[in-house]
Symmetry: C2
Subunit: 421 residues, 2 copies
């Protein structure tokens, strides 16, 4: 049941306080690990440091085309006094032959090829001239010149990637490069989503007057997928505390986090609150939160598992998910929130507000905005004053602007930061 | 075979020109469509506009708790002259009953409930007092007051979501809300990836001197997945034009785009170039491109399918993929590159350069950088001068800074824009 209420927000708990209490109650709890093929690890969070098992390159390699020689043999060479070095083979080395040379011998070599034993440098052809089976070398070289040394790229036993990184395509390549076939990652969080409401219909049912298709579970499923979680969508539950309780019991058995979507507005009876209170091991963290939309978000733990009650209003539902559940999942999944990963996971865009917006004092307001690129290249944000029950304004919106508790008004022309949906 | 070359970039083709030629040659070609369940459409590109099949709300609804009445019945009401309206039921309407009232009748109603026939407004209890089975109404109301009108949110036959949007979780909810079970989207592009090189080992083989594990296909597979494509990884092919050609033939049969990874550096013989030239219906678009790394990127069409040769050097490989293949896939998949979607698909971060970097004139340089958040909150970017063959610097890097062709130097302290990997 949807209700449009305009209660005074005073006595509602500040968003930051509620979030901190909610996350602290989780303590150090993290998801367990599992071992999976490196090739399938995209987007997963590394459980352990990745430590190099061998040097890369594994051997000294030529870094340019030229002649592999020993620098000691040409130590006295210069323009006026070239030194002759015997070329030991007609064909040059290109591939993976391991060759051993003697003193004063050299060999033609291609970039990337293994440097022969007893050589330590590659001299470029421009400093040489060929005479029979000898080359004249017209300059001295230092040991290691034009050589890609063993271990130059990665040293054995060094940490190559720190744990808790979210694996990128390049990281997969890096691990394969070091011979890893399997990798330990945090398990994916499993999140049950339970839609609650007498008015809700399954998409396969026929629409009736006064009823609506249940949509929140579809939105939440997508958001959970984007966060790397697994969603378990439960059947729709009626507005009935006993039935909600039974469904929560089932959800707790199969998931790390339980979301109850609907059944928690103050306009209607607060069924979710009642259902959670009836659990022996329940701990209510916060119920009335100073945010708009989403003030009837419910944060609790049952048997030490996080249980979140989201309002059935689509805007409140998604906003509270982004503020509370997203943060929770990030913490559970062991993600250290490196600033650049945080930036990738929360894409923002600066824009100029197209219309004044107001917000009560002491309430965090999350204003849906539609972005537009004007002819002059300027990006503008049009704020929707729409009802929180309106899913269509969310679909038309591209993100939201947050007005923090101490800000009561933003003006047309103000520069705002939009968090993209 | 890897080669480190320092050729003069003069006569190489400008990146933008090469890209434009490559994309123009594709013409209006787009992927075909397929119909899939709305629930599975996350990240897919809409093929058609989504048009509302019915109004939302489907009926007039009460927007607050109160009494549903007809505004005409209380047109003359004010504080001094309240109008009495008969309450027709003891229980109030909360759900989906359709009720019909007569003149001068009202009914108690909850927010969200269906407005009875012959009523057109909801009066708030604060402007009423109850006397027996009547309520006194102390003010006049206008038609539609506190009513959420049929079609207020979404109107039948209006375009709800424009085609070519990349579906977000909220969009799935929006489509379900409108009763859509299936939706037409662009097919996923299928991209074959063919690793080429005598030095390459499969991860299941034992590492030998002078050989390396083949990694580029793993990186490309991840990048393709992030772009919503399907990758077909082909077996490793030797540096042999005839074998490369055979493998390209196979790849063309099963994919929309073919990537040949390796076999196209100038230091080694240019096997890929030779293989492509041997196709009757091949059309070479560009071969030598003024970019670093990636100058030996090869852009071609065979039988009107795009075929891209990427250097085997990991840095060149990924850079040329991001510049050319990513753009191609976006165009093929029908994505209109709305500016906010482009912003989400290419996440950037401003940083301060930690060290001077130089670049030849007329070459686009893509400099890998490692980001760091300093104690003062400032984000710095450390440029890697590493070899293009170094995968480890890519893993340690967080993105790249582009030095366009007309820029030959950036200085320590310069503000740069980093495109995150």
């Amino acid at each position: 049941m949807y209700s449009i209420d305009n209660d005074n927000p005073i006595n509602y708990e500040n968003v930051e306080d509620a979030l901190n209490k909610f996350l602290s109650a989780l303590g150090d709890k993290k998801l367990a690990s599992e071992e999976i093929p490196v090739a399938d690890s995209l987007g997963r969070i590394l459980y352990d440091d990745i430590v190099a098992q061998f040097d890369l390159p594994t051997h000294d390699l030529a870094q340019t085309d030229g002649y592999a020689i020993n620098s000691a043999d040409v130590a006295l060479a210069d323009d006026g006094n070239p030194v002759c070095v015997e070329i030991v083979e007609n064909t040059h080395i290109t591939k993976n032959k391991i060759i051993k040379l003697e003193k004063n011998q050299g060999i033609k070599i291609s970039s990337g090829a293994l440097l022969p034993q007893n050589t330590n440098a590659v001299v470029s052809p421009e400093f040489t001239s060929v005479e029979g089976n000898c080359i004249k070398v017209f300059k001295s070289v230092i040991s290691g010149e034009n050589v890609y040394k063993k271990g130059d790229d990665i040293k054995q036993n060094n940490v190559f990637i720190r744990k808790q990184r979210k694996v990128r395509p390049l990281d997969i390549g890096g691990m394969i490069n070091l011979g890893f076939k399997k990798v330990k990652v945090f398990k994916k969080p499993v999140i049950s989503v339970m839609p609650v409401g007498d008015e809700l219909l399954n998409i396969n049912e026929k629409l009736e007057p006064g009823k609506i298709y249940e949509t929140n579970s579809y939105v939440l499923r997508g958001l959970i997928k984007q966060l790397g979680g697994i969603s378990e969508i439960m059947p729709i539950v009626k507005d009935n505390p006993a039935m909600i309780k039974t469904s929560i019991e089932k959800a707790l058995k199969i998931s790390d986090v339980v979301i109850i979507s609907g059944g928690s507005s103050i306009g209607a009876d607060d069924f979710t609150y009642e259902a959670i209170k009836n659990f022996k091991n329940s701990k209510m963290i916060s119920n009335d939160i100073a945010m708009r939309p989403g003030k009837h978000t419910l944060l609790a733990y049952i048997d030490e598992k996080p249980v979140i009650g989201l309002s059935g209003h689509p805007a409140a539902n998604v906003t509270a998910f982004l503020v509370f559940v997203k943060s929770l999942i990030v913490q559970l999944a062991g993600n250290p929130r490196s600033f650049w990963q945080e930036h990738k996971d929360n894409v923002r865009l600066d824009a100029v507000l197209e219309k004044d917006v107001e917000s009560p004092l002491d309430t965090d307001d999350y204003i849906r905005v539609r972005l537009k690129k004007q002819d002059n290249g300027r990006i503008t944000a049009y704020p929707y004053a729409g009802k929180p029950s309106s899913l269509s304004t969310l679909v038309k919106a591209h993100g939201y602007v947050k007005l923090p508790a101490d800000c009561t008004k933003l003006y047309e022309g103000d520069r705002v930061e939009v968090l993209l949906f």
